[in-house]
């Protein structure tokens, strides 16, 4: 059974708003937005640019390579109907933990499932 793994301390992530970490051999981009931590695979599914070098705009991380805009919460990109893997995250006592099990959607998320509705 996969276990939660410490990925980072919360304080530096709150300051920098994004951080690249390596968890169980996977490069993961952490984002702090709307008071919540989100974790996406750092390597873009399109052309392998690093999302941790991208910018967050309206609840989406914009890939620096081709500006694919991934919903922070679901990893969904509307323009191409594809999904960046996301990881479950929890924060306890100022520490960010990630469950290193990538989750990929096959279908478009409903509005209430996205960052913009809840973040």
């Amino acid at each position: 059974m996969t276990e939660w793994i410490k990925a980072a301390d919360l304080a530096p992530l709150q300051q920098r708003r994004k951080l690249m970490v390596s968890v169980a051999g996977q490069d993961i981009a952490l984002f702090y937005a709307g008071g919540t931590v989100y974790a996406l695979s750092d390597i873009c599914i399109h052309k392998q640019s690093r999302l941790s070098r991208g910018l967050v705009f309206k609840g989406k991380v914009v890939c620096p390579g081709h500006q694919w805009a991934f919903d922070l919460k679901t990893g969904w990109v509307d323009q191409w109907s594809k999904c960046q893997p996301v990881f479950p995250v929890k924060v306890e006592h100022g520490v960010v933990y990630v469950l290193p099990e990538p989750q990929v959607r096959e279908t478009e998320p409903a509005a209430h499932e996205r960052f913009c509705e809840t973040g």
Binding site: S49, G54, L55, F57, P64, Q67
Partner: protein, 247 residues
């Protein structure tokens, strides 16, 4: 009678309406492109012109950035983000344009040489600089980011597939177009955010609508002129004039 301030949805609809009937996707060069009527030398001439319109885009935005007041922090950040993504985030967008140009048979040197743009392109570039430098910063954003840049996804959604299917380019050669379907959607949306928030009087909203209308006219004229100069079946008898193109 005094004009009333439009709410955000009314203002956004008015912006869309201001562009209607003058969108570059409907200009003669765009239609010929979509219909498969162009040849590689036409795309080469397009690239030699387009470089001088989009190449200085970060320059234009930098002027708007400088004119935006300190307290408009988020708007300034959005402008900076657009500049960063154009120039530094990954591959420089104009380098992708030059890659396409080279696939069309022209060279980096010819693309970068300003003597190879036609006078209408020169006019568009000058208008972009003047608008960025001298207009109200919100109206300049409306013109350049909303009026010009936000049109791009609609244009390239039509023009990208024929490049692969009708004209025989490889995906690598036409990466510039695929990129801009998504990048300018994000860039244009940042522009909308700025204009929606900061055009906060009826007068400034009206100025923004005029700026969007002017921008759409400029881009339409630029695109139409590409057809007039390089595609229309007309050749000057004088070889020097023939080299310049028609009109």
């Amino acid at each position: 009678m005094a004009k009333l301030l439009l709410d955000k949805s009314q203002f956004r609809a008015a912006i869309k309406e201001a562009m209607q009937g003058r969108e570059a996707k409907d200009a003669s060069f765009s239609l010929a492109w979509s219909n498969g009527d162009l040849r590689r030398e036409h795309f080469a001439r397009w690239a030699e012109n387009h470089y001088h319109y989009v190449g200085p885009f970060a320059d234009y935005l930098a002027h708007i950035y400088a004119n935006a007041p300190d307290h408009a922090t988020e708007a300034k950040d959005f402008l900076l983000q657009n500049m960063y993504e154009e120039e530094l985030a990954d591959i420089r967008h104009t380098d992708l344009l030059i890659r396409f140009a080279e696939a069309c048979g022209t060279t980096r040197e010819r693309v970068q040489d300003p003597r190879n743009m036609n006078p209408v392109t020169r006019g568009l570039q000058g208008w972009c600089y003047a608008t960025a430098m001298r207009s109200n910063w919100v109206a300049a954003t409306a013109a350049l980011v909303v009026g010009l840049e936000s049109q791009v996804p609609d244009i390239y959604r039509r023009q990208y597939p024929p490049l692969l299917e009708k004209y025989g380019f490889s995906e690598d050669e036409v990466e510039f177009f695929e990129l801009h379907i998504t990048s300018d959607e994000v860039h244009g949306e940042r522009g909308y955010e700025i204009v929606m928030r900061h055009a906060d009087t009826p007068e400034l909203q009206n100025t923004c609508l005029e700026a969007v209308r002017d921008a759409a006219d400029m881009r339409f004229s630029y695109t139409k002129a590409l057809y007039d100069y390089y595609v229309r079946d007309f050749k000057h008898a004088d070889p020097e004039l023939a080299a310049v193109g028609s009109v």
